[in-house]
């Protein structure tokens, strides 16, 4: 069965510092991979996704993520964090097979705080 692990529950970084949020998945093959962001009181917004090709994917708001098959990881990065990036971040995986019954499995989230 698919599963997603986000080992960091809460991370605090200083504004302007770099950021890396970790995501590890368990799946028998290469899944579809997603990162979502949730601002306080809001729904989830798609940041970026990976399904094939270049393992370094670019997303919105200056975020990028790198798929590493050997480590079963899809870590999210940003070179310089802005105060507006404070939010909760969710990694999600979806199977490449399954068709209509294909559903996303979400990690438990990482809450990012940004210090001035």
């Amino acid at each position: 069965a698919q599963s997603v692990t986000q080992p960091d529950i809460h991370i605090t970084v200083s504004e302007g510092a770099s950021l890396e949020l970790r995501c590890n998945y368990s799946y028998g093959a290469t899944p579809y991979l997603f990162w979502y962001v949730q601002s306080p009181g809001q729904g989830l917004q798609l940041l970026l996704k990976y399904f094939s090709g270049d393992t370094l994917v670019q997303g919105i708001k200056g975020f990028e993520a790198e798929f590493k098959r050997s480590q079963s990881s899809f870590n999210l990065r940003k070179p310089s964090v802005h105060w507006s990036d404070a939010a909760e971040y969710f990694c999600a995986v979806g199977a490449r097979s399954g068709g209509a019954t294909n559903k996303l499995i979400f990690g438990t989230g990482t809450l990012l705080a940004v210090q001035p």
């Binding site: 009181g41 729904g43 798609l46 996704k49 294909n102 559903k103 438990t108």
Partner: protein, 114 residues
Amino acid sequence: NAGVTQTPKFRILKIGQSMTLQCTQDMNHNYMYWYRQDPGMGLKLIYYSVGAGITDKGEVPNGYNVSRSTTEDFPLRLELAAPSQTSVYFCASRQQALQDYGYTFGSGTRLTVV
């Protein structure tokens, strides 16, 4: 284009009361989902639907019911509210191909059962 619309945004229920959480999407998506979000637990799937008239249980369906009479609407029903159902509920939908855009989420309904 409104996307996924959820109503109400907030609700307080007494134990044993019932209510329906509304979810409507205007993107002609066949696939729709209901998740609940609890602190530190991520999102857990309650029910999902692959088209009008077709629904199925997710991980945590107990205490909930759904229906899908149209492509646009996917309401979630709580028949006998319990404190354990205090949560934030999200509705989501997607296109045919999951890899194209992932899910589109509504802004959520925050429910408190007292």
